[in-house]
């Protein structure tokens, strides 16, 4: 049963290794869970789970594994004695932990449970105990209203109740990307270089120069380190991109909040980039800016992130006047502009919100992939994209 918890957690993708497990067993051995399943639950969580984002998954596993074990366990001295007696845990010394066998641990848990069950039988009305043998079905709480009070001594809350409430659902990250996740992924978007005025005292050089100078102090200054990354963001808006409004706006927020960037300029387009890009997402003619001007103004050191699904009608990409906006006809096909952008800048990436499996199904996406390295719009994908922008060249 103990190991079910361990493997259950691993199945749920909670990163738990033997080291944490060891800690947990050590804590059990010392009787730190005291006398209730509620504290047992919290002890297990404190030792095994290292981020609130996994609390929900942990709750699910815990509820599954200990489904038959609900109740406020008033573990009496006898049990505590038993738990504290190292003899009972001899098979769990750290040396042997590595070869933990399912059987021995199940026996341990079984023993743990049996001892508790015996307590219940002897003290009628003592610890509330819902056994595995079906003596009392889970959730039968009429006689024992679960007092939901946290904090005080003796006011225990059923661990199953806590686990079943699943109140940590909101902290899960695999369901939604949020701004913070994006910000984490973007943290690496920096290239620290020393440029500008020498205003910072270089201690090592100062000492070195002073020594060479026979102890006559010779101060050496250097320019402070600054992030050199300038970022151009080109974002597809409207149409097929509408379902991605949420993650896109979060990405935009994250980029705006990323104060480390030397310069940041976002522009918008619809479907594909033609003769104009737009400074605002509403794509009005008054917001238009010639794409050529952009390329002239920004030098090749700018990092370019294009966000879009790249899935469109082939004509919209390949043919002159392919744009579907009748006001902004463009004699140059979109693909030529994409080629120019890819050629002008040293580092470019394409971030695609569509599921990766869809990429190869669209003809235009395949064409775009020949021009730009494409990454999915996820935290990991963004991390890789950032690496492609500032990491070492491969």
């Amino acid at each position: 049963m103990f190991l079910d918890l361990f493997y259950g957690m691993r199945d749920e993708g909670i990163p738990v290794a033997l080291q944490e497990w060891n800690t947990f067993l050590e804590a059990l051995k010392r009787g730190l869970h005291g006398s209730s399943l509620f504290r047992f639950y919290h002890l297990a969580r404190a030792c095994l789970v290292k981020s609130e984002t996994y609390f929900d998954a942990f709750d699910r596993v815990f509820a599954r594994v200990f489904k038959g074990v609900e109740g406020e366990l008033d573990i009496t001295d006898e049990v505590l004695e038993w738990l504290r007696d190292p003899e009972n845990f001899q098979e769990l010394t750290p040396e042997q932990l590595a070869e933990l066998e399912r059987l021995s641990s199940d026996e341990l848990m079984q023993r743990f449970l049996e001892t508790l069950a015996e307590q219940d039988e002897r003290h009628d009305g003592g610890g509330r105990w819902v056994g595995t043998g079906g003596r009392s079905p889970f959730g039968h709480g009429g006689q024992h209203p679960t007092g939901i009070r946290v904090g005080g001594k003796g006011q225990r809350r059923s661990a199953m109740k806590v686990a079943e409430e699943r109140k940590f659902k909101d902290y899960r990250t695999d369901l939604n990307l949020d701004v913070r996740n994006f910000r984490l992924a973007l943290k690496r978007l920096r290239q620290l270089t020393r440029t500008g005025l020498a205003t910072e005292l270089d201690l090592d050089e100062t000492i070195d120069h002073t020594c060479r100078n026979a102890g006559e102090i010779d101060l050496v200054f250097r320019p402070p380190r600054k992030n050199e990354v300038r970022l151009l963001l080109l974002m597809d808006v409207g149409g097929t991109m509408d379902p991605y409004y949420e993650p896109m706006s979060q990405l935009l927020t994250a980029l705006h909040e990323e104060r480390g960037l030397r310069e940041f300029e976002p522009y918008y387009f619809h479907n594909c980039i033609y003769d104009h890009v737009y400074s605002r997402a509403r794509l009005l003619r008054t917001d238009a800016l010639p794409t050529g001007d952009l390329l002239r103004r920004l030098d090749e050191r700018w990092k370019v992130v294009i966000v879009g699904d790249a899935a469109m009608h082939p004509a919209e990409l390949m043919e002159p006047h392919g744009g579907i906006n009748p006001h902004a006809t463009s004699p140059t096909p979109g693909v030529v502009w994409l080629q120019r952008i890819a050629g002008h800048f040293n580092r470019t990436v394409w971030v695609n919100p569509d599921d990766r499996t869809l990429w190869d199904q669209s003809h235009t996406t395949r064409v775009v992939q020949r021009l730009f390295t494409m990454f999915p719009l996820s935290v990991d994908g963004l991390g890789e994209a950032v690496h492609a922008l500032v990491g070492a060249r491969v």
């Binding site: 990163p15 290794a17 080291q19 944490e20 800690t23 050590e26 804590a27 010392r30 009787g31 730190l32 869970h33 005291g34 509620f38 504290r39 919290h42 002890l43 969580r45 404190a46 030792c47 789970v49 290292k50 981020s51 609130e52 609390f55 504290r84 939901i148 009070r149 946290v150 904090g151 005080g152 001594k153 006011q155 225990r156 913070r180 984490l184 943290k187 201690l203 000492i207 002073t210 102890g215 102090i217």
Partner: protein, 293 residues
């Protein structure tokens, strides 16, 4: 390591109300001699915990407040080369003895101290991404060597290490694996009453009710960018008490909103709600079922 019986147990202090699981987590970290990692919403008393653990366990507290420029090595020791250079130029101090220019950082001090210490490493996520990794060995073995003097500093008593994080950066797995983790949940009304009582004892019960109703109602408003936290509630009550505002005013309004809402947009959103003639709750039944069990 001692056995289970002689654990000095932390059970909260008069000035700090800790939930049962938090007390257990502290005792677990204490007994197993692992660092305790504390996360939680801002303003739920993460930093305060360390001070009160020190008080509860009657141990001295050392604080190490992490900044974006903090380096792991600074926590161990700093070799003050500039002072030494200066002394050698102008003839102050004993330049020949390099030990005069080694200054132990908070972690180093906690190792070197005679008695067991509580060490707070505050806001570890403020530092560089690699920072926690650089401390792995030192936190594991509780010793390090001063390279300049080849002197080993080894903990006489393993300090109780409490680490707080605001989740600005992900912490490395290898580091997390060594910690006991506790996430401070936002206090429910019951616990909040006890917390408020510590800071504002003998507060009128109906006033406290009104204050809490408004507070939890505000926290439920999904438009808010930043939810008010415990520390803001405490400040707000101070403001209310000092102004001597009458109780019926609190029933129908939220005075001194600035103490609770720190973002301009949030204050504007509430002003709009006010303009539209929005009602403020005045009893617990106006709040959701969560508060009426």
């Amino acid at each position: 390591m001692g056995d289970a019986n002689d654990f000095q147990r932390f059970s909260g202090t008069p000035g700090y109300i800790a939930s049962g699981p938090l007390v257990d987590a502290v005792n677990c970290a204490y007994a197993l001699e692992r660092p305790l990692l504390i996360k939680g919403e801002p303003g739920t008393g993460k930093t305060l915990l360390a001070r009160h653990v020190a008080e509860g366990l009657e141990m001295p507290l050392l604080s190490w407040h992490i900044k974006s420029t903090s380096k792991a090595a600074d926590g161990l020791y700093v070799y003050d080369t500039v002072q030494r250079l200066n002394d050698s130029r102008f003839g102050g101090g004993d330049v020949a003895d390099i030990r005069n220019y080694i200054r132990l950082g908070p972690l180093g001090q906690s190792f070197a101290a005679e008695d067991r210490q509580v060490l707070l490493i505050d806001e570890i996520d403020k530092a560089d991404l690699e920072f926690p990794n650089d401390l792995l060995l030192e936190l594991d073995e509780m010793r390090f060597t001063i390279i300049e003097t080849d002197e080993e500093i080894k903990a006489r008593q393993r300090p109780v290490v409490i680490i707080t994080s605001n989740n600005e950066k992900e912490l490395p797995d290898a580091f997390l694996r060594r910690c006991i983790f506790h996430f401070i949940d936002f206090p429910d009304a019951e616990l909040m009453r006890r917390i408020v009582d510590v800071h504002h004892p003998h507060l009128d019960a109906t006033l406290l009710d009104q204050v809490l109703i408004k507070f939890y109602w505000l926290r439920e408003q999904s438009e808010l960018r930043k939810k008010p936290s415990t520390s803001e509630l405490i400040d707000w009550i101070s403001a209310l008490l000092r102004s001597g505002i009458s109780q019926d005013k609190i029933e129908s309004h939220i005075p001194f909103l600035g103490a609770l809402l720190k973002k301009e947009q949030d204050a504007e959103a509430l002003a709009r709600y006010d303009e539209k003639g929005g009602k403020y709750p005045s009893s617990w039944s106006d709040l959701g079922p969560r508060y009426n069990q």
